[in-house]
Amino acid sequence: MRAAIVALLATGAHGFYAQVLHAQVRVVNMIPAMFGDETTWNPEPTLAVHPTDRSLLAASSFLLGTDVCEGRTLSPMLVSRDTGKTWSVVCNIPTPGLAGLPPQDVVMRWGSRGRRLYAAFIWSLPGHPQSLQVFSTNDVFSPRPMQFLVGHDTVDQPDLLVIDRKGHDRVMVAGSYKDSIPRTAAILWADDPTGPTQFKRIDLEHRKIGEQDFAVRLDAHASGRVYALYDAVPFEYKDNNTTFLDVVVARDDAGGASKNPFAALREKPRPSSPANCPIGDGLPGVRVVRCRPYAYDGWGAVRDTFGFQRRVPVQLSVATDPTDKRGNTVYVAWADSSGSDHQRVTVAKSVDGGQGWRLLLSIPNAMNPSVAVDSLGRLGFLFQQLAYDSVANRWVTRLLVTRDDMQHAREYVLSTTPALLDLVRMQPYIGDWTELHARGSEFLGVFSAANIPDSANFPNGVVYQRRASFADRMLLVRRPVDDSLRVDQLAPSIDPFFFSVRAAESPECGTLRTALAGSPAPVPSLTTLPRAIPDSSRRRMTQIGCDQQ
């Protein structure tokens, strides 16, 4: 309790609270106080965690800089200097010709020693469609725009990885590079880049495929191993009405600079392999699963059947286990539509460097999977699951933290917010991804959700920097007006949220266990949404991360 009070006091008088925070879990609406009149749509958040300065974080979301930053040339990012308690908008992402849309598919990472922040995003310029842009800065608060590093036309879904190579930043920019035929997953990389000529290219795909038009995700292990996770449309398995995908893992054992890069992992023949989608061709890149159907929603196809959220095959995540010294333990997560539900997210594990895979958990009606492994070897699995409701469906942002491959897990509900037609601006509704990072034994992450300030929407509490009335469940204009005839209500929208989850249990868990001792209720399946759990103590335990046995 003391820790909770300290946490409350430490945040000062600026925040608006749903309730006293649990010290172990912090959820923060990232819209800054002085930016509190914004009503735009901020999905697809990304987070960069500084490797040495624990207080320093950078983040991005769809943020429009048109009338805030310098005319039509800059867009904002979000920066925190107090480990996510408060955030500031900083105008430093160059977006020349800005007109109505913020930079897209933004990803940001700090260099391995924290000297520079790198940002990659998609920005279409005249004559340069869907252009990848990569920038960096040595001071996120600099009044100067970030420095341009490289541009490349027709790229989608970039991911950034920056690793330490003998004191230098090796910058790797993965993505779907559409200038190849067929389109292919590829990586641009350079050491301590200062300009475009230094970048070299690695094409990841070694197979004959239909195309690769979607995401690529990277993660590195301290051993120098780099894993790349991507999906590809199988060449031999086609259906005009359905998109089929292979989920592929490639590996490089020399920081991405092997003589034959990302070819360390070759697919071995398997005893049983489906005839129409065989596995075991001996080529680089192991296919974790093959020929998975995937729904693809066009612009006009999005309905409330999936919470107004589109389904596109960009949802991938990969994480290595830092406690495995050799870097053999790796987790992947992806989404597909293989079940009868609208979309399913699945997490799988390999303990042999990506050769063999075991499925750990599959969550129905969910999206935006993100995995990370902490210094205790615990797997964090973040996703957003749709809870169907007769009044309004809800997007429930859940984090599972497990030590035993999802046999048991601490479950956290970080938000449960309504999916409302009113908040739909365009697609994606709340974004095509979330991000989860581990720092020591702490998990840090970002997600987007409806910003209606209702304490029932945030079981672990929440801090709003912008003005909000939890009593009236409404956002308020930043500067209250004196005229009593006026109403200070501000339109709700989609906002980015930051969260951190520490290793310790909430003190409330002990009380709940005591309450349960008299009338034991069964431990629910991890796929079960807390709202479906009848026992109130057990339900609460699945919201605030209690160990359950």
Binding site: F35, D67, P76, C91, L101, S131, P143, L485, A491
Partner: protein, 311 residues
């Protein structure tokens, strides 16, 4: 390739700004005020398109910072705005709140002086930091600013004119079933005045009216083109495209509009909240495309917040 495009655009822009700044604050401008005012007005227009903040401020101290985390340096000064002329929508009015200005140099600046600053956003958190694009000593700039921003041909006046003939401004999707009596009365008053259509400054909509009477079940239907919502590039290139501004005549009471179907995202604001939008370069560009009418007197209850010049 991207580099060339980026730097070319940035260089041109900064060259323009620099030229404006030199023209505005240079010694020759000081000595040729009649000529300078014309040039000043012309340059102010350019500055309006480049800057996102414009305010008159008192310099509190040089080599100072009001933003936590931003260290004081030879390029940072602490000021307190007394007037905020141009306000980003997400920030709103900031007069009276100390802020930090990043300046290239502090020539001629001293504490307690009053200056107009044209600036762009730098850091916006619990406090505001901006980058100065240009600055003018307050004593010389007031008249030109008044003419350019607040005069009868300025964007503020044009928007005020549009507001005068507009019951509400729709920038998103809305369908109304009914309006409360005071709104119905206002609509009737506008109709009686001879208006044949209600204009939507940002989206041209068709207004289908049924006879409006001053009772609770008055029906007022509005159709707004949906294509603008589904094609984001066609939206106004600014941050206002999803707001419904309810004008002062409704007294901002929620429930004055009853929507058919799901409640749209909206924002209850009065005329004095809307007028600052005219100072946004993006919205001003849209307003400039609209037919201009006769500029009428401002509403009697008009109380400016962002855009008042000192008496």
């Amino acid at each position: 390739m991207g580099l060339a495009v980026n730097r070319s655009a940035a260089s041109t822009r900064w060259a323009l700004v620099a030229a404006c700044a030199i023209a505005l604050i240079g010694p020759r401008a000081t000595h040729a005020q009649l000529i300078t005012i014309d040039r000043l007005a012309d340059s102010l227009g350019k500055l309006r398109r480049t800057s996102t903040f414009a305010f008159r401020a008192r310099i509190d101290s040089l080599r100072a910072s009001t933003v936590p985390g931003i260290p004081a340096s030879a390029h940072t000064i602490a000021v307190t705005p007394t007037v905020s002329l141009q306000c980003p929508q997400a920030v709103g009015v900031y007069a009276g709140q100390p802020l930090t200005v990043f300046v290239e140099d502090t020539t001629q600046l001293a504490p307690l002086q009053e200056w107009w600053f044209f600036a762009s956003g730098w850091v916006i958190g619990d406090h505001i930091g901006v980058r100065s694009v240009a600055r003018f000593h307050a004593a010389r700039a007031d008249s030109a600013l008044e003419r350019d921003f607040l005069g009868p041909n300025g964007p503020r006046a044009q928007l005020a004119h549009h507001l005068d003939d507009t019951v509400f401004v729709v920038t998103g999707r809305i369908s109304l079933d009914s309006v409360r009596p005071n709104v119905g009365t206002t609509i009737q008053r506008i109709i009686n005045r001879g208006a044949t259509a209600i204009s939507f400054p940002f989206i041209r909509g068709t207004v289908m009216r049924t006879p409006v009477e001053a009772h609770l079940d008055s029906t007022f239907n509005v159709a707004v083109p949906f294509s603008l919502i589904q094609t984001p590039l066609l939206q106004v290139p600014d941050a206002y495209q999803h707001l419904l501004f309810l004008l002062h005549v409704t007294l901002n009471e929620p429930g004055n509009l009853v929507t058919s179907g799901p409640k749209p995202p909206y924002m209850l604001r009065s005329a004095d909240d809307i007028l600052p939008i005219a100072d946004s370069a993006g919205v001003a560009a849209v307003i400039a495309t609209l037919p201009k009418g006769t500029f009428g007197a401002p509403p009697t209850d008009f109380v400016t917040q962002c855009g008042t010049l000192p008496p």
